[in-house]
Amino acid sequence: MNSLECNASPSKRTGTGVMKPRVSSHVACRLAQILVAAVPLVCVSASAQAGPSSSYSLFSSSFRDFAAGLDAAAVARLGVQASGRIAVLDTLAREQLKQMTGEESPEGFAPAVAYLELYFNAGEYVDRPLIDVHEKAMRNWVADKLDAASAAAFAVTHRLPPASLLDREGYDLLYRAGRAQPADANRAASVRSLSGDLPELAERKEFRVPIERLSVRYGAFLAQDVLRIVPADGGQWRPAEEIFGPVASSQPAGPVAQGWRELRRVWLARDAAGVNKAAEDIREVLKETLQIEYPAAEVQSIELLYNRTRQGTVVFAGFAIALVLMILAAATRGRAFRRAGMGVFAISTAMLASGFVARWLVSGHAWYLPPIMNQFEAVIGSALLGAVLAIVLEMASPRNYYALAASLYATVALLMGYFLPGAMGAGITAQHGILASPVMAIHVAVIIVGHALVGMTAVISLAYLGVAAVRGFGGQGAEPSSPATLTPAGEMTTLAAIDRCNLIVAQLACWTVVAGTLLGAYWGDFAWGRWWGWDPKETWALITAIVYVALLHARFVVGPRHRGLFTALVCLLGTAVMLFNWIVVNYVLAGKHSYA
């Protein structure tokens, strides 16, 4: 756990337990996390978790004292099974806590510690503000339904106590898993139940999606068949509720299950030293039990680091800085800005590449299957490949605009990954066998390079339009030998230089989109038995390619005075088509490539 995760929570409370305005502290906390995550080696002990609990806080002060003595790293490294692979508990905990509370580290606790507390002690939290209500309409409805005291807490936390959603079946689930006692239901009696109102509310169109999301968050709290902790036959792992339930606990179990029971026992007894020892014991037993399958300690460390950097997306900060410097370099033609910008850009690219390799290692995919197969991976991979290509182009022809374009593209891509990890599928999951083909990997790699280049043409086009708006349109042909495009000093005019960059990137984009699409056709032949099927994704890739082919042909016949402007406008059109293909087709239109 890093220091700011530990310190962020106590710092935002006063001694009276009343929170300061949540938004500012939340943003400050998030920014602090980003900065620390960007320099991941700066990591100190978890000692600063202690702090006064308020009536609005989730965790009790006794838990804070207990957590302060825990070896968070040992807990985080516990092996569990998630999405078809053996992951560290930290990974699963972050995903589940994000679902449940909207934060990966609620109140600054290490995710694995917070998650195990909520799992083992679920009964204690049925009346605490836990389940995130994100949608405004839903928040308003909930605020109207709650009693005054709960509504006041909800107004601050925007989280519902689970008791307001728990029904008989929900409590039974918790009892059977040994996560709550019948007395817990009595303790939560004061909480107004909303579960009876929700079916009627779901009839209203505007509440359908919010209620679906709320049920997913509530499901994360129930955690049925989520925490798989004990390896069993056939590659399946047994879920925790089969190990800890009142009936299961009385039955004999193997060493892993016994280890987890001991961990739970000492956890509930608030014996921090016992927990640390039990966690180490489980790791040892798992290592002996699984031998080859269990990820090496180095891979576990990489996974923890990767999680802490939000799947490498925090590098957006580096690309944003590089973007500012490259804009200054392009505007002032200052060499210092260029050197600094390219330096930051290269470092950011290297960090992004590290994250990419980390994901590859952690996923356990074959060496020929890079992590570029789902929306998140494709977007991040596209940012990386675009940045690498921009460095190559800048080395071949120093123009600033390649790096500028790639910086903005990477910043936007990484910000999307940072803020929308769930929607984009940031979790590392098992890969469908149909995708496990080197041809498929090459096809996707080429296509996402094409997407990066298309995105870069949009940035360069905007730069062209911006400069042209200031200096006036016209006379911006890209032929370097044309006198019209040269300054009195014999250099290319700014607009001509930008247009030249745009042309080079557009040519590359055209080539890669066409080649990537045809590679997809080759793969489709032996995977699906048809090389072309008018799937929406294929169709829109073809449309993107057609737009760029048309552009490159039209440049032959558009007059030199309007060539740059024409190119910029068509490149923006091509980018719009590409974005449509990447977003609308993936999430809205039905097809074999749909993620919806």
Partner: protein, 478 residues
Amino acid sequence: MADIGRALAGTWLGVGLLLALAAFLAIVSTTYAWMPGMSRRDSTAIYQLWPIRATLIALSLAVCANILAACIFRVPRRWASLGAWISHAGLLVLAIGAVWYTLAAVTNADSVTVRWPGSDRWTEIRHVYLNNTYAVYLQDANRAVQAPLDLGDGKKPRTLDALLASGSGWQLRATGFLPSALILPAVRLRVTDANQPREIALSTETAERQQFVGDGYRIIFHPGVRRQQLAMMLRPAAPNTRRGLPEDTGMLLTGDEIPPTLVVLHTDGTQWHGALRPGATLDVPLAKRTVRIELLEFFERAQPVPADMPADHAGGETVSALEAVLTAGGERQPVVLQFSAYGHLTPPQAIRLPDGRTINASFSRRRLDLPAALQVTEARFESWPGSVVPKDYVCLARLDGHEVTISLNHPVYIGPYQFSQGSWADDPRNPNKIFFGVATRPGLPVIWAGCILVCLGFPVAFYVKPLLLRREQRGDTI
């Protein structure tokens, strides 16, 4: 001619055609769900509609004509234009391959193998089934015939006048298509009680329609009773041992193995039963009177229910069906043929002709014979640990005496047919039915040649051309 050619080779014309093609594709691929007869799932099926297909072909041909004309009249014949030549030639080769493929390929087809309950052996694969193409298969003692049926792309019946003549004195003419039908065994009876005849129809559609309540008796239509069940139901005593039965419950039994049989049971242990053939009558002796029951008709009745596509199970108990008229010996007999997607897996329907002969009929997707049989010997589903995400679907099979493996991304070839393991089965972990995607791939080498040329031509046009131009300007020869 040259003027026309030059006009056709215009760059603006080419750009315009390309943008028109792009706009057309964009519109079709986003608005298909709102087009008549289309749903959100039909993102690829939309291109089968003839107006869409015709527009697409017209635009593509126009683009190809423009490229060809440009090659002849516009692209200079010099080394610096090598890239343009290669990429344009590649596009034309690709277009030729695509046309060949479109005209000759068998696509959208599949095949299936089944492991019946209690058996550890998979059925041999001898056929490929085409989607959206249907046929009626008929067989009598002398010969087997088939007739393709045009159901209008599987959506609505369009042409149903297929006339099948076996040369054996019978003919079958399809008269209607029921996209989704409730196929019910039914009887039509004439019940005469106290000299008052009354026609009733019973079927299993609802509990009300399954029984007729008379004055002091009930007739319940209870089909599907097997011979063994009937034997258990009947007492060992000789039938009709007691005359003048108390008024009681009548049960009319029908099934594949037994003729319609009327059984009357009473709580005091008495019973009465008798076979009831079409046209025959039975006098059931009740306590104070006799009720005469005459079987007018026993038939499978198809009740239409709206649905989209031919399907084995269009929803619940319903299946798609074909209405037809069988003509034999001057008599006409209506028949209903149930649809079966994989005809060879379902026993054909036996239709009895008026003269006593029987013909077998089935209505299914059109099938093609494979040049060799494929025998699956083992099917294995591999998933990632702790997940249902498939890692691989593996089928071990024998083909022409050789062991072959069909798995994801690894198809096998049987003659011209490519068998792909694109999907799996009803229950992946314990499969009893495995589907293979099947296609032929005519013209594919031509397509790949075109693709390679296109991919080579672009970098030559973009990056080699400046070098070639520089050499040309220096006056070098290449």
